[in-house]
Subunit: 108 residues, 2 copies
DNA sequence: TACCGTTATCTATAGCAATAGATAACGGTT
DNA sequence: AACCGTTATCTATTGCTATAGATAACGGTA
């Protein structure tokens, strides 16, 4: 037996969770949302919708887009996005720790 | 902004979570899985599949069924089921508390 | 100027999960 | 013996989400 969970932030609908977080991480790494989605085996359309919704519900842009140019374009995470990712990353780590502790206490 | 989450137990697939928990609570109250499902606005078939899967994955029966008889039959929660619900109930309450604390810490 | 891969969108299709609806067995009560 | 509402299952349909596939705009580079 093991614990499983999903934790996310809501603001009039899903605002931010594991999906957007990993997409941003990979976008930062690869330089484009397209490649980020691809490496997660997610369709670009889905990735795009996820990011668009997150931005709408968080109220600030997560990606800085460039269309055309050297590699066709690309995206990088905004300053606000990077800051948010740091905080969310710590939040995520702590929820994981706490949940595992509670699981151990009752079912370990 | 608020936190949202789903926490459940796995054992070769979903074993137990909010759905089975509420179904068992209502079944204990109403005396039948049929009525429990109905009061959750869930189809009986879905409720039945949920309970069947939980039993398979937990490895012990949650319901004691009676087919036919006074009210057509009915179900009550087994002794093991009641014991498990108590533990899960405490687990559930504590995960809720911890998650809200962590949320407050980072986003409150 | 032609090219390339990206962003930004549509639309149509596929695939999966939920629901509806049906059927059978059952056994106290009346 | 007939009835009733439940458990236990099927099957067919519905509905939603994801995916596929297409199109356009864009702007450095060669």
């Amino acid at each position: 037996m093991k614990i499983a969970y999903k934790v996310w932030l809501e603001n009039d609908g899903k605002a931010f969770g594991e999906g957007p977080f990993r997409l941003l991480q990979l976008t930062a790494q690869k330089g484009s949302l397209h490649q980020a989605a691809k490496s997660m085996e997610m369709s670009y359309q889905k990735a795009w919708v996820i990011i668009r919704n997150s931005e709408k519900r968080l109220g600030f842009p997560l990606l800085e887009r460039k269309i055309g140019g050297v590699a066709g374009g690309g995206s990088k995470v905004t300053e606000e996005g990077r800051e948010f990712m740091k905080i969310y990353g710590r939040f995520r780590k702590e929820t994981e720790k706490k949940l595992n502790e509670v699981f151990q206490k009752y079912f370990g």
